[in-house]
Amino acid sequence: MSAQTFTEANGSHPELPATKLALWLFLAVATMLFAMLLSAYLVRLGFSEEHALPKPNLLWFNTLLLVFSSLALERASRGTARRAPALWLVGGALAVLFLIGQLFAWSELAQAGYFLATNPASSFFYLLTALHGMHLLGGLVAWTRTASCVIQEGRGESRGEAVRFAPASSTRVKLELCAFYWHFLLAVWVVILILVWMTT
């Protein structure tokens, strides 16, 4: 198969799904954004003696939620069309729970007396988590739009055999991209968590 693609006589470009490339580009930009913020955070910590920040254990629980959410979406995108809707909904619900959990973590921090302007660590923590949450919210919008497709297609398939999505169907691509975005957000969250954990 590879021989064929490489020995084509004309010099035309290979087909690349534009949505996929668009997501990659978006992820590159988002990565840059988080990377810049994290580097600014590290830069800022250097010239301050005050690094204290309470670390609510709730954060680990939240991380777990996000991991399961990511896993559910991944299963949904690979699984059969019949089971996909349930998994898809569970994944989204877990993500919503994660966001609520983050809000609880914030309130825990606030109760301990750490606000946006208390010290560099706290302000960056609020900023980073807020930004991450916003990205997740954006993801949820895409999730909702995909959900309707999944449910429709799942309904269509539910009477028949357990079939997988056709490999190139648009729903399948949407599911995969959405799941991939979730993994990305999970990775970003883990990096944020580890860095904050280690530096405070």
């Binding site: 810049m36 830069v43 250097g46």
Partner: protein, 110 residues
């Protein structure tokens, strides 16, 4: 190859240049007055001066240097690497601030 993208064949009305030219004058004057009247708060002044500089640079590159009319392959190839410079600037400035802080902290006199 699309004809309208082959460089050397664009025709820009002179009016566009004059407008951009005028905008550059106005933005330069604005930055100058921001400094002249020492607008406070300081962060706002600095932010605006930086923002105006970026806008001016974008105008020059886009219109005078025709970047706006070039094919995106060139535009991205030229603009994206500049991010690496931003990274350098973040770290040299972070280092400068850190050293200043260390001096303040340990020697007590900046």
């Amino acid at each position: 190859m699309e004809k309208e993208h082959v460089s050397g064949e664009q025709h820009h009305p002179i009016r566009v240049y004059l407008v951009v030219w005028g905008a550059l004058f106005i933005l330069s004057a604005l930055s100058y007055f921001l400094d002249y009247f020492d607008i406070h708060p300081l962060w706002l002044q600095r932010f605006l001066i930086t923002a105006f500089a970026l806008i001016k640079a974008a105008l020059i590159a886009n219109y005078f240097m025709h970047l706006r009319f070039e094919r995106p392959a060139l535009v991205y190839a030229i603009v994206l690497p500049l991010v690496l410079l931003v990274v350098l600037a973040i770290f040299t400035m972070g280092e400068g601030d850190y050293v200043a802080w260390v001096r303040q902290f340990f020697f007590g006199s900046k």
